[in-house]
C-alpha cells in the first residue's frame, strides 16, 4: 500500500482505505478537475490541499484550478455568499457583469484543462458560471455547494440557479441546504484531514510555547473560537457569552483566533467590531493569524478546555470537527452542520444565545467527569463520520454512479 494511504489506514482503519482503493480501481486514469476561488483560507481550500494528492495517490489524474479576479469580483461573490445564506442583498448589474466576465476569462484560460476533463467539480458560486462557456464539454460537471443555502435570498439564488441547473449533479452538505434542481442532488458532509498540520498530534511543549507566545495562562480555564471575522460566526456574541460566564468563573480566558481569506472583503470591519467589544479585558485575546498558521491553531485548540462555534449561520463548521478531533467538547450555534456534529450531552451543547452559551460554559467547566467522558466520545464520533476518507469515498461513489448510470445499487469489487 502507498505510504500516504498506509497513514490513513492507521488512523481511519484499513477497511476504510480498502473501500477507497476498490472504488478508485475502475476510475484509474480519469481526468478530474477541482475549481474553487482560493488556495488559502477557508475550509474548502483546506480540504482540497489534501483531497487532491489523495485522489492522485489512488490513480485519478486530479488537478486543482482557481478562479481569481479583481476586487469587484470578490465583492460580487461575497454578495452571493451572504445572499445565499439569506441576507437580502441586491447585487448591482455592474457587479454581475464583472462576475460573468471573470468567469469567461477564466474559462478561456482553463479551456485546455476543462474541455477534456472526465469530471469537473466546481466549488461554490464563484466559478459556477464557467459551465456556460463549455457547451460541448466532454465530461460530467458537478456543482458542490459548501454554503448554507436553506433560505436563500430568492433573486440572487434565481440568478445562480440559471448556471447551477446546467450541471449534471450537485452536492450539498446537508439535506436542509438542498435546493430543487433538475439533476441528482447528493448530500455529502465535508470533512477534516487527520494528517493536516492543523490536526496532527503535537507535543505538549509546543502547545505551551503557543500559550506563552499569546500570553495565555495555562493554569486557568480557556475557551476558544476559531473562525474568520465574519458576522455569521458571531464573534461579538462569543465575547458577550464569555463576559457572562466570567462573572461565574473569574479566571476564565477567551481566545478568538481568525484569519482572513482572500475572497472575504468584510473581515476587517468585523475585526474592528470585535476589538472594540474586547477592549480593556486582558483575558480576551483577539488573534489575526495568517492563513498558514495551522500548527498555531492546532495548539490553541489543544490548549483550550472548551471550543465554541457560536455561528448564527454555518455551512458545516469544520472548526467544530477539528476541535472534536482534539477531544474537545463544543458549544455551538444551533444552525447548519453544527447540528449534526454537536449532540447535546454527548459531544457538547447547541445554543441559541450568548446567555445559553454562558450557561453551558459554566456547566461544562463545573462537570469534569462529563468533560472527560465527552473527550473520547467526540474523537471517535469524528473518526467514524467526518474524516477525509469518508468524504472521498462519497465523491468516488458519486463519480462512479455518474459514469456508470444512476443505479440504486452500486456493486464494487
Amino acid at each position: 500500500m502507498n505510504d500516504i494511504l498506509e497513514k490513513y489506514a492507521g488512523i481511519a482503519g484499513r477497511d476504510v482505505v480498502e473501500h477507497l482503493r476498490q472504488l478508485a480501481r475502475p476510475l484509474k486514469g480519469l481526468k478530474f478537475v477541482h475549481v474553487n476561488a482560493t488556495r488559502l483560507g477557508g475550509g474548502v481550500a483546506e480540504i482540497l490541499h489534501k483531497m487532491v494528492p489523495l485522489m492522485r495517490e489512488l490513480g485519478i489524474e486530479t488537478s486543482w484550478e482557481v478562479i481569481g479576479g479583481e476586487a469587484e469580483f470578490y465583492q460580487c461573490t461575497k454578495g452571493f455568499h451572504n445572499a445565499i445564506q439569506g441576507s437580502p442583498i441586491d447585487i448591482p448589474e455592474s457587479l454581475l457583469k464583472v462576475y460573468e466576465r471573470t468567469n469567461e476569462e477564466t474559462a478561456q484560460k482553463l479551456e485546455p484543462v476543462l474541455k477534456d476533463a472526465d469530471v469537473v467539480l466546481i466549488h461554490d458560486p464563484q466559478p459556477a458560471a464557467l459551465i456556460d462557456h463549455f457547451p460541448d464539454r466532454k465530461g460530467k460537471w458537478v456543482w458542490r455547494c459548501h454554503i448554507d443555502v436553506s433560505r436563500p435570498f430568492r433573486p440572487v439564488w434565481k440568478y445562480l440557479r440559471g448556471f447551477v441547473s446546467k450541471y449534471d449533479a450537485s452536492i450539498f452538505s446537508l439535506s436542509d441546504f438542498a435546493q430543487p434542481l433538475p439533476h441528482p442532488v447528493y448530500l455529502i458532509a465535508p470533512s477534516i484531514d487527520p494528517l493536516h498540520e492543523k490536526n496532527v498530534d503535537i507535543a505538549p511543549e509546543e502547545v505551551l510555547d503557543v500559550q506563552n507566545q499569546f500570553e495565555i495562562d495555562p493554569d486557568r480555564p480557556m475557551i476558544l473560537q476559531v473562525s474568520r471575522y465574519d458576522r455569521f460566526k458571531d464573534p461579538v456574541g462569543v465575547i458577550h457569552a464569555y463576559k457572562l460566564a466570567k462573572k461565574l468563573i473569574p479566571p476564565l480566558q477567551l481566545v478568538l483566533a481568525g484569519g482572513g481569506a482572500s475572497d472575504d472583503p468584510e473581515g476587517e470591519a468585523v475585526l474592528n467590531e470585535v476589538r472594540l467589544a474586547a477592549k480593556d479585558d486582558p483575558d480576551i485575546k483577539v488573534l489575526l493569524l495568517p492563513g498558514d498558521a495551522h500548527r498555531t491553531i492546532n495548539a490553541l485548540q489543544r490548549a483550550s478546555d472548551i471550543v465554541l462555534q457560536k455561528s448564527l449561520k454555518e455551512g458545516f463548521g469544520l472548526t467544530v470537527t477539528e476541535a472534536m478531533w482534539k477531544n474537545k467538547p463544543v458549544i455551538g450555534g444551533d444552525t447548519g452542520g453544527i447540528r449534526i456534529q454537536v449532540v447535546n450531552h454527548h459531544t457538547g451543547f447547541l445554543v441559541n444565545t450568548p446567555q445559553g452559551a454562558a450557561l453551558r460554559i459554566r456547566y461544562l467547566l463545573h462537570s469534569p467527569e462529563l468533560m472527560q467522558e465527552m473527550s473520547w466520545k467526540v474523537k471517535e464520533f469524528v473518526r467514524e463520520n467526518f474524516l477525509i476518507t469518508r468524504h472521498l469515498r462519497e465523491y468516488l461513489t458519486l463519480i462512479y454512479a455518474m459514469l456508470h448510470g444512476q443505479k440504486e445499487r452500486i456493486v464494487i469489487g
Binding site: S175, Y186, K377, F381, E394, A401, I410
Partner: protein, 227 residues
C-alpha cells in the same frame, strides 16, 4: 461442512455504505407529509426506516424511523409518533404495504386533529433517497462455525449488508446468513430458526453484531458438547 452437503459457494463477506440523495420534497405539517408519502419512491421510505442505522448517532433512539422522530420532535405529536414508531418494516410484505400503513395511520391522526401543527421552517421533514455501495472485503466463510471468529471482527456495514439489505435480495425476505445456511443441508435448521428470532429493526447494529456472535458461539459450543 457435512460430507453429504450439496456444493455451495463459500459465504463472501461484503461491506456497504449508503449515500444520501435529496428529493426536493419537504413537509412542514402532517398533511404535507401524507401527501408526499403517497407519491415518494419506495427508496425513500426504505431510507427513512433503515438508513438511521448507518447514520451518525449515539443513543438507542426513542423512535426508530425518521417519520416518528420528526413527528415527535418537530410537530410535538407524541401519540402519532408512538403509533408510527412501533411499525416494524420486517412485518410488511412490501414497502408499498408499509407506505399504505403509514398513510393510514397518519390519516387517523389527521381525523383527530383540530388544528394543524406546523414545524419551524428550518425543521421541515426532508424526504431523502439513497444509493447503496457494496464492497468486497475479500473474506470468505467456508464453514458456518467460522462465523464464531469472523463475526466479531466484521464492520457494522457488513452487518447491515448481510442481515438487513439481504432481505431485499433473497427469496422470502431472508437475511444472507439464513439464506446461505439453507443451501447447506438440514443440519442447521435450529441455527436458522434462532437467527430468524433476532429482530433486525429495533436493535442497533453493534448490538446486532454482538447478538449474532453470541448466537453462533453458543450454538457451536453446545453442538460440540453434544458430540
Amino acid at each position: 461442512m457435512a460430507e453429504d452437503s450439496p456444493e455451495v459457494e463459500p459465504f463472501a463477506i461484503k461491506d456497504c455504505t449508503l449515500i444520501a440523495l435529496a428529493t426536493a420534497k419537504r413537509a412542514q405539517n402532517l398533511r404535507e407529509l401524507q401527501e408526499h408519502l403517497r407519491e415518494i419512491g419506495t427508496n425513500s421510505i426504505y431510507y427513512h426506516f433503515w438508513g438511521g442505522l448507518l447514520r451518525p448517532r449515539f443513543d438507542n433512539p426513542e423512535y426508530h424511523n425518521d417519520f416518528a422522530i420528526w413527528i415527535a420532535h418537530s410537530l410535538h405529536n407524541k401519540i402519532l409518533a408512538e403509533r408510527l414508531a412501533i411499525l416494524d418494516p420486517v412485518e410488511f410484505e412490501s414497502l408499498e404495504d408499509l407506505r399504505n400503513e403509514l398513510i393510514e395511520t397518519i390519516n387517523e391522526s389527521l381525523d383527530e386533529t383540530e388544528f394543524p401543527i406546523w414545524a419551524k421552517r428550518d425543521d421541515q421533514f426532508e424526504f431523502l433517497g439513497y444509493q447503496i455501495v457494496v464492497f468486497d472485503t475479500k473474506t470468505t466463510v467456508q464453514e458456518p462455525v467460522d462465523f464464531v471468529n469472523i463475526l466479531p471482527r466484521i464492520s457494522l456495514g457488513s452487518i447491515f449488508y448481510h442481515f438487513i439489505d439481504g432481505r431485499n435480495r433473497n427469496p422470502n425476505a431472508m437475511d444472507d446468513f439464513r439464506n446461505w445456511l439453507m443451501g447447506l443441508d438440514h443440519r442447521y435448521t435450529d441455527l436458522i430458526r434462532l437467527i430468524g428470532e433476532i429482530c433486525p429493526y429495533f436493535t442497533p447494529l453493534k448490538k446486532l453484531r454482538q447478538d449474532l456472535t453470541d448466537l453462533f458461539t453458543n450454538y457451536f459450543q453446545s453442538e460440540s458438547v453434544q458430540q
